[in-house]
């Protein structure tokens, strides 16, 4: 972290102590969210999410593959994330960092655990299944990659077209059926700063947070959780944040529903 981020962080902490957030946001309020579907027609599914200044593009590609040896009757789900160097002065060129890998795995866990996709329905014939590739492309970083990526992945999945497999060839043109998505998962990410918790941290807040908690829900159940950074969290805090997540997730599901039409 650069010295300037420390200084900007001091100001944010000062405000938080008085109960305010920089930019006049509520402690558990999301920044403005916009979702655009199908912006990459070459892909089987795609969506761009803007969450405040954070910009995420998710592209979905579906190929024919062989199944995993221990799951011969199921398709594959592969989620990857790239923190593109153009998204932030702090992102470098190179192989995926632990942050990128954690982001991909947490988003993946939420989708997999909620059984949004029936993996058995991706079976084609013996030794041939569909592999579904979810690629999370971070285009601009301003905090809270988790919630924006989960929203973008969900929006992309819900508008994904399934290719056809005929005579040993993959057909991606013509009228294709929609991928069947059985549930909608969204996540809520909180930052703990000096004992206070806030929802949807921006970059300035993430620079100085002590710990972070992401909670993915589908409306009924908690489907995935991830605590990040080295600060500790009490049971009481975690339970409070779970309550807030169930509440806020309704708002997120509404936004998703409106975006898919």
């Amino acid at each position: 972290m650069h010295a300037i981020d420390m200084v900007k962080g001091e100001y944010i902490k000062e405000l938080l102590n008085k109960g305010f957030r920089d930019g006049e946001r509520g402690m558990y309020e999301y920044r403005p969210i916009s979702i655009q579907n199908g912006i990459i027609p070459n892909a089987e599914g795609s969506a761009q999410v803007d969450l405040g200044g954070t910009k995420i593009l998710v592209g979905i590609k579906i190929d024919v593959d062989s199944p995993l040896p221990d799951k011969p009757g199921e398709g594959n789900l592969v989620t990857s994330a790239e923190l593109l160097p153009l998204a932030s002065a702090d992102y470098d060129v190179g192989p995926p960092s632990p942050e990128a890998i954690e982001l991909a795995r947490v988003v993946d866990r939420g989708i997999r655990a909620s059984e949004a996709i029936d993996m058995k329905s991706l079976f084609i014939e013996e030794e041939k299944v569909w592999s579904l590739f979810i690629d999370i492309y971070v285009l601009n970083y301003d905090g809270n990659l988790f919630d924006a990526s989960t929203l973008a992945a969900m929006a992309a999945l819900r508008s994904t077209r399934m290719p056809k497999y005929e005579d040993g060839k993959v057909i991606r043109e013509g009228a294709l059926p929609r991928l069947k998505v059985n549930s909608t998962v969204t996540s809520c990410t909180f930052a703990k700063i000096n004992g206070k918790t806030v929802l949807d941290p921006n970059k300035g807040e993430e620079d100085i947070m002590d710990s972070r908690l992401t909670i993915a829900t589908d409306g009924k159940y908690i489907r995935a959780m991830q605590k990040g950074l080295s600060g500790s969290m009490s049971y009481k805090t975690i339970e409070e944040l779970v309550d807030i997540s169930f509440d806020k997730s309704k708002e997120l599901r509404n936004i998703l529903d409106k975006a898919i039409d």
Binding site: A3, I4, M6, V7, K8, E10, Y11
Partner: protein, 202 residues
């Protein structure tokens, strides 16, 4: 007559000696994205890095403390440097200072002098090209903002601004609006109007 020019645009059929231009074949071309005035023959950059000049006020953050000098982050491709024995305040990493530009050395490090430590406050970074507009001719714009918000504001020519006290949010909003509309007419009046409408009893 003002017009926006881009790198490679022809400005004049004769050589004009102004910054950010190139002369080929006795003709003058713009090297930058800027606003060119055909009559006054001035070229104002719309974006771009700060060009340090002796005596300019800057706001910096100490990012390295060595036995005899401090390295200063100036939000610029070039680092600032303060000689420790000429600094009266106790500085450490993260200290915010207001200082003046002394000179540039051969590696383009900005040698600074007259450093004063600043306590508390909020820092915002804006494109250096917009700083003149935030200050205004004869300081008119910045004075208007400090009066309208009761904030103390120090504007660094390097694009770093320090705001403390008063209505910090309103001061920030005014400055960001100036950055967006810097190239337009009537900006001073619009900011005056905005400050009047949003004035809170602080």
């Amino acid at each position: 007559m003002n017009r926006i020019v881009v790198p490679g645009d022809l400005l004049a059929d004769a050589p004009i000696s102004i910054e950010n231009t190139l002369i080929y074949d006795n003709k003058t071309y713009s090297a930058i994205l800027g606003m060119y005035d055909d009559e006054k023959k001035t070229l104002i950059p719309l974006e771009g890095t700060w060009n340090p000049r002796r005596g300019e006020t800057v706001i910096g953050i100490i990012d390295e403390a060595r036995p005899s000098s401090y390295s200063v982050d100036l939000n610029s491709p070039f680092k600032g440097m303060l000689i420790a024995r000429f600094v009266s305040s106790r500085l450490q990493i993260g200290s915010v200072v207001e200082a003046k530009v002394k000179e540039l050395d051969e590696t383009k490090t900005v040698m600074l002098m007259y450093a004063k430590k600043l306590y508390g406050g909020k820092i915002i970074d804006i494109p250096p090209a917009k700083v003149p507009r935030v200050i205004g001719r004869g300081n008119t714009m910045i004075q208007q903002i400090t009066e309208g918000t009761n904030s103390s504001i120090i504007v660094g020519m390097n694009g770093r601004i320090w705001i403390k006290g008063g209505d910090v949010a309103l001061a920030t909003e005014a400055i960001l609006r100036i950055v967006e509309e810097a190239h337009t007419e009537g900006l001073t009046e619009r900011i005056a109007e905005m400050l009047k409408q949003n004035k809170k009893v602080v």
